[in-house]
Every structure is written in structure tokens, then in C-alpha cells.
Amino acid sequence: MSDIRDVIIIGSGPAGLTAAIYAARANLAPLVIEGEPSSTSDQPGGQLMLTTDIENYPGFVDGIQGPELMDTFRKQAARFGAEYLTAKATQVDFSTRPFSLWVEDEELRARSVIISTGARSLMLGLPNELELVGHGVSTCATCDGFFFRGHTIAVVGGGDSALEEALFLTKFADKVSVIHRRDALRASKIMQNRAFANAKIEFVWDSVVSELLGTERLEGLRLRNVKSGKESDLAATGLFVAIGHVPNTALFAGQLDMDDAGYLITHDGTRTNVEGVFASGDVQDHVYRQAITAAGSGCMAAIDAERWLESQPHEHHIEATTTDW
């Protein structure tokens, strides 16, 4: 059995790594269970690992690449003593203190836990969708855009993520159809203006994808107009889906309070229903979902955890009574 940590952070996006920076500077020697490689947003660094230019994160006049920003966060926390475990938490037990967390067969124990497991992109949920991943269906535009040079492709969704992908993909594809189930976009005005001004982007309004055509590889999409009910086929050899997110909270089912959509419920800052367990970032936020708000709530979680640890009677070894942040 391992030593008892003051704090373990699960997740390593902007929320988890900001919590790590603050916890490390409070001498809490945080361990970050950072996740495992994948080609979805469920990977070390989180959703920003799959994005290109981030233009709205304060402090970067000319913007910054998502992976580069997360690498900076990670190094900054390491500089103050944060440690990383490149693995996924597989089980937690918050019923007794210290809390137990498992990574495969290894049990880790901590006096407090900060959950920043974020959210992952939804897929369409169509029958042959998974089989076609790697054969036209992609979960990572920045990885796979290259393979669609000269192709006609489609992006599903109407938010900033969808338009960012569509604009990125126009570097390669001849034509990008953005398929949206409504007749207006949710995306920010600046992204809408860029997309409307791009001659390679065409919008298909009020429509959803009802079928993926092709067996060995994607050949087209069957679309259904939600207003008229009419179906039509669209030729496309590539499909990128950006229709929203679901929180990564299956690990905490039955132990932490969640809303109907599965987001963790927090109160009084970042507290969950279990004393000593805190949550920050997209795992508890379906409203703002920005890198900067995730980072801000990660900072809050670290401060909440530190103050809560200080208030506990037992023998944990924080020396200072307050930290000069």
C-alpha cells in the first residue's frame, strides 16, 4: 500500500493542471493521474490536445496551439513538484477516508481528491460509425485532415468546435459541408463570419445524418431534413463530428451527486457531496466550457482542498497555516 497523499488530481486538462500548479505551490505534492493516450479528447491534456489555434486564452496576443498550451501548463506544475501518472483511474472509493483510488491493480490513497476528468466528444451513434473510424470517419481533425486533400467532406455540428474543424479542414479538402440540425449556429460571431466568408464551406441547415453510406470506407451520408422529413444523400469521403460533449463521470456513479446529464454537482465553490472531494472544469460545467473557466475552477478546487485539509484535525503535514498565493 502506498503512502497517503494530501491530494490526488484526476485529469490533466486546463482544470486539473491548474489545480496541480496551485496545490504544488501550497506544498501539497499533488499526484496527477493524467490519463492515457487516445485519439479522442480523453487523453493527457484533454480537449485542447485536438485543437489548433486558441485565440481567446488571455496572455497570448497571437494565439497559441492547444497542445503547446497544455505542455506549458504541465511543465509549470512539474516545476513546483507535481508528479504525473500516465494512466487512467479505474476505480475509486470515497466512502472512507483516506480515499482510495485504483489504477488497474495499484491502490493509491489520498486525504483529498480533485476531479477534473472533463468531457468527451459525442459521436453520432450510428450503426457502422465505429467500423468506419479510420476509413473516413475521424475523431481528430488535426490528425487526419491531411488525408482528405482534394476530397469532399462533412462536419456535423453548429458550435465553435464544429466551425473550427470546418475552417481547419478547408486547408485540405475541396469542399466542406457543415450539417446542422437547426437553421442558425450556436458558434461565436467571429467564427460564424469566418465560416460564412469561406468559399469552400457550404451549410446544410435543419438536417441530421441518418445513415453512413459505404462499407469498406465512407462514401456518403444520408441526411434527413428535420422540418420536411425528406431524405437526401450527400457525397462525402470524410466525416468529422462536433455535436457536443458528455462528462467523464462513469467512474463516480453511485458515489458523487450528478445532474441528469451526468455532470458532477458542486456547491460552495468546488465541493461535491463528499467532504474532501472537489470537482473542477468541464466535468462540472456544461455552461461555459472554456479553457479559461476550467483553469479558473481548477485554481478554486486547489484552494478549497488546501483550506479543507487545514481544517481537518488529523496529522497531515502542511506546515504553513495559510499560503500567500
Partner: protein, 108 residues
């Protein structure tokens, strides 16, 4: 590059893969691909771990369109395990070390 890892190109692919006595796991990658970077150190560890039983090959899709096209790679990283020169299994997307181990061990 770590021991047990071979850089493959359009020119050397057939000779290296068809002529390989051990199974060879070929990583189709490119330097702009974030998830490819995440699995690079894992592949180096696997090369050491399975030394003598498995070879690892790396093919940069940017410079080697012929082999990339021949295997219809449209997403990276894609890992294809070749045994006796034939495709034994194909893994699309980055994965953790344990999962990779499980996926390839059946073929070793």
C-alpha cells in the same frame, strides 16, 4: 531512435516487412499529429520489452504516400501488425500501453 525500431520508407517497406522473421508493428505517423507523439515513447518501451519477439517500424505518412495509400491509411496513428508479411491486425488511434500489449500479444 531506440534499439529495435526501424524507420521504414516507400523504398524499403517491402524488403523490411516481407522479409522480417519476427512480426513487425508498423506505426503510421506524422509530426503534426499529437496522439502520434503520445504513443511514440510507449512504442520505444514495447520495442525493448518485446526485443527479439517483435520489431517496431515507423513510417512517416507525409514522406511515404505509396505505402500509406496501399494500406488505405486515412487516420493516424494507425498501427498495423504484420506477421509473415501479412496483415495480422490493425489498430486505429492512440492507445495506452496495456491496451496495446493486449492487442498485439495474441499474435506473438
Amino acid at each position: 531512435m531506440a534499439e529495435g525500431i526501424t524507420t521504414l520508407t516507400d523504398a524499403t517497406f517491402d524488403e523490411e516487412v516481407k522479409g522480417s522473421e519476427e512480426p513487425i508493428l508498423v506505426d503510421f505517423w506524422a509530426d503534426w499529429c499529437g496522439p502520434c507523439k503520445l504513443i511514440a515513447p510507449i512504442l520505444e518501451e514495447l520495442a525493448t520489452e518485446y526485443g527479439g519477439k517483435l520489431r517496431i517500424g515507423k513510417l512517416d505518412v507525409d514522406d511515404n504516400p505509396a505505402v500509406t495509400g496501399r494500406f488505405s491509411v486515412m487516420s493516424i496513428p494507425t498501427l498495423i501488425l504484420f506477421k509473415d508479411g501479412d496483415v495480422a491486425t490493425r489498430l486505429v488511434g492512440a492507445k495506452g500501453k496495456n491496451q496495446l500489449r493486449q492487442e498485439i500479444e495474441a499474435f506473438l
